[in-house]
């Protein structure tokens, strides 16, 4: 999926040089991330795939990482930009810890910091090509927000990126409740991820679910979802179609 940002001026050759200084299109991308608030905190799910265009090239990429004591970051889009963001946040949390004064960065602060970073990069026409999901719990308060590559940011009870917006959120709008237990939350997320697995061609069947509560973050071991392909329509897909 190529997408050029045209900048008009008379210098043809110089354009190419200048263009090498900024992001024009993504290369290795991750697909959807889905996250919900549940009774004790936040649940987030993403698969472990990194696509190189239409090739499912990398199958062991962790697209969710813990940030500090209170936050969890999930990303879709360009993987190298995600790694750059992790470096920024590393520096941020390091400086925060160096103060050594009992204060710590909560998810709200991290979310706003990321919004500022993404928006500033967009203003320079050199975006970090990611959609980020930031969730966390601090002092009993649950927080779940999203930032896009152009700096659009908001909070909600359930968020998703990419295809997840189209396939997962309608399910969540129908079935999400304030007091989901952990098991119910995982089942709901797995339902969303299964739909994405069937319908999103850049999804792979190897996913992780991360849980964020007051006690901290746990990212599960990778596992696969059970899928069912024995639908009658799949055995002879063109029967009854026009012109067959």
């Amino acid at each position: 999926m190529t997408f050029t940002i045209p900048i008009e001026n008379g210098n043809g050759v110089k354009d190419a040089e200048a263009d090498s200084q900024r992001t024009l299109y993504p290369y290795v991308t991750g697909t959807s991330v889905v996250a919900i608030k549940y009774k004790d905190g936040i649940l987030m799910a993403s698969d472990m795939g990194g696509s190189y265009g239409s090739t499912l090239r990398y199958k062991n990429i962790e697209r969710m990482k813990a940030i500090g004591k209170h936050s969890l970051l999930g990303a879709s889009g360009e993987i190298s930009d995600f790694q750059e963001i992790l470096r920024y946040l590393d520096e941020l949390t390091l400086n925060d810890n160096m103060w050594d004064d009992g204060n710590s960065l909560g998810p709200k602060e991290v979310h706003n910091y990321l919004t500022r970073v993404m928006y500033n990069r967009r203003n320079k026409f050199n975006p970090l090509w990611n959609t980020l999901v930031l969730g966390g719990v601090k002092n009993g308060e649950k927080y779940l927000g999203m930032v896009s590559m152009i700096g659009v940011s908001f909070e909600d009870n359930h968020v998703a990126t990419g295809f997840g917006n189209h396939l997962a959120r309608p399910i969540l709008r129908d079935e999400w409740r304030e007091d989901l237990s952990f098991e119910e939350g995982v089942k709901l997320l797995e339902k969303c991820m299964r739909v994405l697995l069937y319908r999103d061609r850049s999804a792979i069947n190897k996913l992780q679910i991360a849980k964020m509560t007051e006690e901290g973050v746990t990212v599960s071991e990778p596992y696969s979802l059970k899928t069912f392909w024995e639908f009658k329509a799949f055995t002879n897909p063109t029967v009854g179609a026009e012109g067959s």
Partner: protein, 277 residues
């Protein structure tokens, strides 16, 4: 203070390991008019004495709002104080913008202290001649800090700076153990009473002092004259057990009554240098 050969430059040490310019800067703080701060678990009160250059002029602003949750009271060179307040406001608002969250007081104070330290280690600068009482509330509770021209800072339950602050400090020392659990009203009353100590016999009127409060659910703001006067009225009518009688509502302007709590006698209204308040 005596003149000596090691005090011309802030970057010159004395043989006894002192930086005299920094100590002279701290003297400037002692010449300014008094400022007082106290804190409880949930509130911080900053109060100061209003000193005007002359009867014709208005009094100098010595307490500044830095943010909804932080205020600062200064003593010494008010111009330096104003500049540092602007720096604090700037730091606070930049933090709020990036993180959508109030800056914690401890971090602001460290930045302020580092800024002051720079001026003690550059030959082309001079130390700031102002002491700051920074009071604020963050998620770790209510805090009161004192920032020194030397670049040091300390956390206090209650403190007073400026001229005749020793009287206030003595009062606060007697009572500080109760401050942590004090109610908001008691804290304000204690602040005003501490201010009274620095006035040395002058009658306490609400026009003579400025009081500010901040707390949980209560953003930084100044108390208006009537509220201050109401608090004064609750204790000015009653003769205090600890004080000599003679404070009371009658005879304010007549011969000043000797202060009951013995501390530095002598100093009447000093000749205040024009730039210091």
């Amino acid at each position: 203070m005596f003149r000596n050969q090691y005090d011309t430059d802030v970057t010159t040490w004395s043989p006894t390991g002192r930086l005299f310019q920094v100590e002279y800067a701290m003297e400037a703080v002692k010449q300014g008019s008094a400022a007082i701060g106290l804190r409880s678990r949930s509130h911080v009160v900053l109060a100061c004495v209003n000193k005007a250059q002359s009867e014709l002029s208005s009094h100098q602003r010595k307490i500044f709002k830095v943010d909804d949750h932080i205020g600062v009271a200064i003593a010494g060179l008010t111009a330096d104080g104003r500049v540092l307040s602007r720096y604090m406001r700037s730091e606070s608002i930049n933090h709020s913008f990036t993180y959508e969250s109030p800056l914690s007081v401890g971090r602001l104070v460290v930045r302020l202290a580092d800024k002051a330290q720079v001026c003690t280690q550059r030959s082309w600068k001079r130390p700031y001649g102002v002491g700051l009482l920074v009071g604020g509330l963050d998620e770790s509770g209510a805090h009161l800090y004192y920032n020194c021209p030397s670049g040091n800072y300390f956390e206090y339950q209650a403190f007073a700076i400026g001229s005749r602050s020793q009287a206030a400090k003595t009062y606060l020392e007697r009572r500080y153990e109760s401050f942590q659990e004090s109610s908001r009203e008691d804290l304000i009353k204690d602040a005003i009473m501490a201010i009274r100590e620095t006035l040395q016999g002058e009658t306490l009127k609400s026009s003579l002092c400025t009081v500010s409060v901040l707390g949980l659910e209560e953003p930084f703001h100044f108390l208006d004259q009537e509220s201050i006067q109401k608090v004064i009225d609750t204790f000015e009518k009653v003769p205090e057990e600890e004080e000599d009688a003679g404070e009371g509502e009658a005879e304010p302007e007549a011969a000043p009554v000797a202060a009951g709590t013995g501390e530095q006698g002598g100093s009447g209204d000093q000749d205040v240098a024009p730039m210091e308040m």
